[in-house]
Amino acid sequence: MTPARWQQIKKLLDEAWQRAGEERRAFLDGACSGDPALRAYVDALLAADAIRVTFGRSRHRV
């Protein structure tokens, strides 16, 4: 992935996170129109982000 592409993806993610549901879908439809690969990648990252669980928790058991 080129740095420019990654910057584009990051910007879209940031903006997508400020929207939800139908509004997010409509935003991505517009922003990724004509670039299905970009849309697929952003969707994959949004799905990965939705797996909230307990990533990064600290356990000071010792």
């Binding site: 990051k10 993610l13 799905a47 990965a48 982000d49 990064g56 356990r59 000071h60 058991r61 010792v62």
Partner: protein, 191 residues
Amino acid sequence: MTPQAGDVTRLLQAWSAGDKQALDDLLPLLYRELRSLAASYIRRERKDHTLQATALVHEAYLQMVDQTQVQSQSRTQFFAIAANLMRQILVHHARRHRAAKRGGGDKVELSDAVAVVEQPGCDLIALDQALDRLAELEPRGARIVELRYFGGLTVDEIAEVLSISPITVQRDWRIAKAQLTHQLASNTATG
């Protein structure tokens, strides 16, 4: 506290005060101590092979630093250095373990990374490689993950170490986390 506790405390203070040479002296000392702690931890916990990087770093801090002598800034710096060293040590251990047990089902996992490595077959070595790849795109995001995962630093502490705002830490963390999770899931999907 270990015999080197005085040395580590002194070096940490000197480094915080701007003495660059102090860091060069501190690193090998800290590496040795963290490695021996990790090794004894692994022996004790042989049955499940689950390592807790942040717990180890925390234990090292308690053993190696005289807490009455250092400021909170030095404490944060200790954890920031230890995070990177601990990553190297655990990944090194995992590679050796894998080489020794090649073909076996045994693997070392990092329990703090439990959510990322939830997918079966995804382990510390995969996480390390994914972090390296992330660092090519997003060096600061990869460093944030390292500090949080392997050092157990809070968002505010990471902000202090990297001289950025806590909001930026949170934003970078979220993006880094999404990319890592996606990358690890893709690895699993493609074998």
